[in-house]
Structures are given as structure tokens and as C-alpha cells.
Symmetry: C2
Subunit: 362 residues, 2 copies
């Protein structure tokens, strides 16, 4: 069995130990004579996994008891709607900071629910090459919340540090960089993250939300969409995606075994230095369109001298076992996603390939 | 490895060949060097699985091109809200036929969205022991739709044949008996089914909906909740639960290999005869509270002479490798769920245990 170097943007590479564990116990979980998928979500066996996943996430991210940790379905895309449905009252407005396609989608869903405005945007001709400075945010001090996107998978930008939102709760879509670096959860009112980058498989979204915001949430929406419903029922109001939560547990155990977020952050910094270093060193051939201060450590986007060369690069890389390097269809170019499960060795292999490709085609 | 006899109500037993296949290719799907979970949902490898699952479902259920088949998240509980959000206009009312806890929940979510009324109920003191007769339905001919629940997991009832709803589209929650017997899809406007009984793992809900109802659906709701969004994007608008859909594919291949729905129906009929036959034969000890015509072939509920004996029954059965037999906490008693992956041999083992237990304790 040969595993490839997987640079997919999501669903993406998962840690091999987490997958191997799932394989080894797939038809008989811990001697129970059935798969974890076949266990009742109301039984002790599954509940232990469910609670372990929540406890590991609390420890790894340093989440205090002021927050509920919810395991929901529908991905970040459903949170684009659920956030305003819960937190935006008819007499209020919400602020959105636009830094890419996903924040634009979040804003347009919010506008179908209530009043929402753009508090900042760094778009130039529909493209984003940086996140805004604090001074560029035109925040409404009466806003229900300020919505941010921590990392932008398509344009390859990331907030190096999070801006202040004053007294207004910050809501942050961290789908593509949660668990990749240390940050202070207590600066946020609500954090959501689709699992399929650093947390696990698709089909699961984690919501970390301050309990006072849960309690103040709107009650005139269907029960299934209220954060309160899920918080009161420990994410067991309806049947959760049990296998996805089990895999999250496996991934979190692996994350912990590496040394937690400080160790992961250090490894991600090294991976970024290696790849951006190669792009900058081979600047006559590769070019990163993102401003240096906003460069993402999760999604490294770069261009080659022509679209023809980009197509050739992707094709030859795939043959060499380096997959998932094609940029998003809306922007083209190359994109290497360096989520936690992508190793320094994977990045080294990519850099070697890039050096060789530039030498042959430059 | 010893597999137990799994009578869980859902998540429930899955066919061993479907699980073994998942295990064997978990870390390397078809020589691609990665798990199916690590593949992009926009890539050819995953898309082939996605389309195969849809095509198999169309073939097995005989779904015509007049219907869209959608793979969504949030389970049947989310459909309780999405159905009225899409299909119920402010000037309309919807009819609900109450046959158990799940239809009650569907009605109460609908009431948070728009106008909905009870068209029939068979509840007596909060309990249901049968489904209504056609003559008991007080249908509103102007209703947006009539909502039915085909099988009731908690009370162990099932419609032996579906009632007529006239010109009004029938919407049916088939979570707990889809794929268990033949039926005419064209009699329904919309069918939904959480996967975790006969289709696959939890975290996936299948929606089969007439295309004219999709087109007429409301547009003033968030895009993520519109059936039209998912129909137009082949259930790839946002990242689908790829591993759950892959497992659905495996389960459907197994279903097909058995001979499709006619063969499955025949097997389910035999399983039901065997278990209900034992209950009726041992009538001095076991008692099924459900009226004969409404007895479910999926969830067989029965009582013992006392709650103490019921607790002893569950405990000794578990030790004998017969698991998941405890009735729902809201009604007590015994419940044996006989979904498709439960074999005639599993049911025989249960009947032998019941005979022996009655002889010792009767």
C-alpha cells in the first residue's frame, strides 16, 4: 500500500494513525461485536466516544465552561444560516468582514434571514489578496455580532492575528484553520468549523458558542435549528453523525499525541516556511499573489508563468504522487493545502518536485 | 471476531459485506493511495461513488425522472423543518396524520414555520397501537401536503398499505422502513429517510422529491435549506457527508446482490412471521400491544408479565449476544428492530432465547 502526498483543500488528508485505528476496529469496536456505526447513540459505548471527543477538543483548544461545544450537521454552509437565525433579532443588524468567497456566502445567507452589512472588504475586482487592517474595519457598535473568516481557502489568505471587535461578539468561521495554531477562544462569541480539513471527515461541523449567547438565542425558529436545543441535549437531541464524531475523536487523540496545539503550530510554521521559501527563492518561475502579511499557512496559492504550465504542473505532480494541487476553479493556478495531517515530508516532496519542474520548464 | 445479534433501533445493524468492504479499502480506496474520506468531493473518484449511490437507489426503488434524489444532512429531524419551509406558503395549511412520536415532532416543527393541523390521530392516552383507517382521515383538500410516517419505531406500528391523499401531495417520513418492501414512489410528492436504519450510517438523509414541487418551493428561505439548491447541484452544493454516501453505496450494492426489494420484502415477511409467531404462540408470557393489522415488520414491540422480568430479559439476552432489545425509554417493554441487515438467523436466535426464557420464568 502506497499512500500519496495529499494536498486536497477539503475533504483532505487525515492522519494515518486515525484511519488505521478506524480500519482495525471497523467491524468490531472494542470487542462489542459490532461497528461503532452500529451502536445506538443512546448507548454507553457510543456516549463514551462522544464525550471523549468533546473533552479532547476542550483541552486542546482551552475552551472554558462558559462555552458549549456542539457537534452538528450541514457543514459551515448551514452555519451561514443558523448563526443569524439564532443571533440576529429583527431590530438588529450584523456586521460581516469580507475576505473571500466563503464570507460572501455567509453574508448573503444572513441577508435572507435579517439585516446584515459589510463592515469591511478587501476585494479588488472580485479577488482578495489580503485581509484588512484593524483600521479598515467600519464596525457598527450596535451590531448583533461581527462575522469573520479566519482563513480563506480559495485565495490563500489568513488573519495573522484576529482584530478587535470591541464589545460586539465576534463570530468566526474557522473551518480551514481550527486546531492549526494557538488562539484565545475567549475572544469569540461563537466559532464554527466544518470538520473536513483539520478535524475529521465531512458531515460534521463543530460549534463553540458562549452559553449566554445560546440562552439569548431566538426561540421563534424550528427547534432543530436552535443552538439551545443542541446545547441542552449534549448534541444528542437527534441522531448525531456518530462515525464522523468517532473519527474526530481519533484525529484529536493523534493531535494530542503530537504535543497539542503548540507542537502543531510549530510544525505548520515550518511547513509554510519551506513552501513559501521555495516560491520566493524560485521567484522567476513561481509567484504567490497574496500579500506577505496575509499569507495562509493552510492553503498556499501560487501561479506559474502560464496556464499551460500550470496544467502541466498539476498533471506531472499527480503522476509523481502529489495530488490535489489544482487551484479552485474560480481562480485557477496552484493550491497546496497544508492541513495538520500533511507532514513536513509531504511538503519537502512538493518542494523537490517544484525545483525540478522549474529547472526543466523555466 | 464474534459479531453479536444486533437488534438496535437505529443506528442499527449494517450488512457485514458492506462494512468489510469499507474496512478493506479504508486507508487506500481502489489504489488511489488515500481513503475515500480524503478524496475531494469535486474529484472523479468520489463523484463516481456519489452517482453510483444515486443510480442504485433509483433502480432499487423504481424512481422515475420526475423525481430528484437528494443526499442531505441533519437527519429526518431537519426534514421536519425543511419540508414546511419549502412547501408551505403563508396562505396555506398542511395536514399531519399522527401515528407516533416522530409524526408529533414533525407537526410541532411545522407549526413553527406556518399553519399545520392534525388530519387524524390514533393516540389514546398518549399511546398509539395502530395506524388509522382511510375513513378516519379528515383531509383538507386545499392542504399544501399531507404528512405521513410510514413506520413508527417507538410504538411498533406500520402502514400495511398507504392511504390515498387525493390530489394533495403526500409527504412521507420513511426513515425506518424505506428499502424494506416494495411500494409505488409515484404516489408520493416527497419521501425522506434518515439513513441509519436500512440505508447506512447516521449523518445522511435521503430526500426523494417530485421536480415540480422542487421548482415551486419557496425562495425566501436561506439557500442551504432550499431543495432547489441541492437538486440543481446534484447534492454537491456544499460538501456532502462523503463517507456516509460511500457506505450507502456499499449497502445498496448488498441489497441488489440479495435480489433487490422483492427478495428483501420476502425475507422481512419471514422474519416478522417468525417473531410475531413466537409471541402469539407464547401468549401466556409475551404480549404485543399493537393491533394485528398495524404490526410493524421493522420494530417488533412486546411486553412481558412484569417490568422486572423485562429488565431480566434484556440483561440475560445481552449476555447471550442478543443486543439492543430494550424498548424506547418513553414506553418501556421490549423492542426488536428487524431492519434489512438483521438476518433470519438473528431472529431465530432471538426466538430460541425467548422460548427458553419463557420456560424458565413463565
Amino acid at each position: 500500500m502506497t499512500r500519496v502526498h495529499n494536498f486536497n483543500a477539503g475533504p483532505a488528508a487525515l492522519p494515518l494513525p486515525a484511519l488505521e485505528r478506524a480500519r482495525d476496529e471497523l467491524v468490531d469496536f472494542q470487542g462489542t461485536g459490532m461497528s461503532i456505526m452500529e451502536h445506538s447513540h443512546r448507548g454507553k459505548t457510543y456516549e463514551a466516544v462522544h464525550h471523549e471527543a468533546g473533552a479532547l477538543l476542550r483541552t486542546l483548544l482551552g475552551i472554558s465552561d462558559d462555552y458549549a461545544v456542539l457537534f452538528l450537521q450541514g457543514g459551515a454552509s448551514q452555519q451561514f444560516a443558523m448563526v443569524p437565525m439564532n443571533l440576529l433579532r429583527p431590530d438588529q443588524s450584523a456586521d460581516y468582514v469580507l475576505t473571500g468567497v466563503w464570507s460572501e456566502k455567509a453574508l448573503s445567507e444572513a441577508k435572507l434571514v435579517g439585516k446584515a452589512r459589510t463592515a469591511a472588504t478587501t476585494a479588488v475586482d472580485g479577488r482578495y489578496t489580503r485581509v484588512p487592517k484593524q483600521s479598515e474595519l467600519e464596525l457598527d457598535p450596535a451590531a448583533a455580532y461581527v462575522h469573520l473568516t479566519s482563513n480563506n481557502t480559495i485565495f490563500g489568505t489568513q488573519w495573522p492575528a484576529f482584530p478587535s471587535t470591541g464589545e460586539v461578539p465576534a463570530v468566526c468561521d474557522m473551518s480551514s484553520d481550527i486546531l492549526s495554531r494557538r488562539f484565545d477562544v475567549s475572544r469569540f462569541g461563537l466559532i464554527y468549523a466544518g470538520a473536513q480539513k483539520n478535524l475529521g471527515p465531512s458531515g460534521l461541523v463543530v460549534v463553540i458558542v458562549r452559553k449566554d449567547l445560546v440562552a439569548a438565542g431566538r426561540k421563534d425558529i424550528p427547534k432543530i435549528f436552535r443552538y439551545a436545543t443542541h446545547a441542552e441535549n449534549d448534541s444528542l437531541y437527534n441522531t448525531p453523525p456518530t462515525f464522523a464524531i468517532y473519527l474526530l475523536r481519533n484525529v484529536l487523540l493523534w493531535t494530542e499525541s503530537l504535543g497539542g496545539l503548540a507542537a502543531i503550530e510549530e510544525q505548520n510554521r515550518k511547513k509554510g516556511e519551506l513552501l513559501y521559501g521555495a516560491i520566493d527563492r524560485l521567484a522567476s518561475f513561481y509567484r504567490c499573489p497574496v500579500e506577505r502579511e496575509s499569507r495562509s499557512l493552510m492553503n498556499v496559492v501560487y501561479r506559474l508563468p502560464s496556464e499551460e504550465l500550470e496544467a502541466k504542473f498539476v498533471s506531472e505532480a499527480t503522476k509523481a504522487g502529489l495530488v490535489g494541487l489544482k487551484g479552485h476553479r474560480s481562480v485557477g493556478g496552484i493550491r497546496a493545502s497544508l492541513y495538520n495531517a500533511v507532514s513536513l515530508e509531504d511538503v519537502s516532496a512538493l518542494v523537490s518536485f517544484m525545483e525540478s519542474f522549474a529547472a526543466k520548464n523555466g
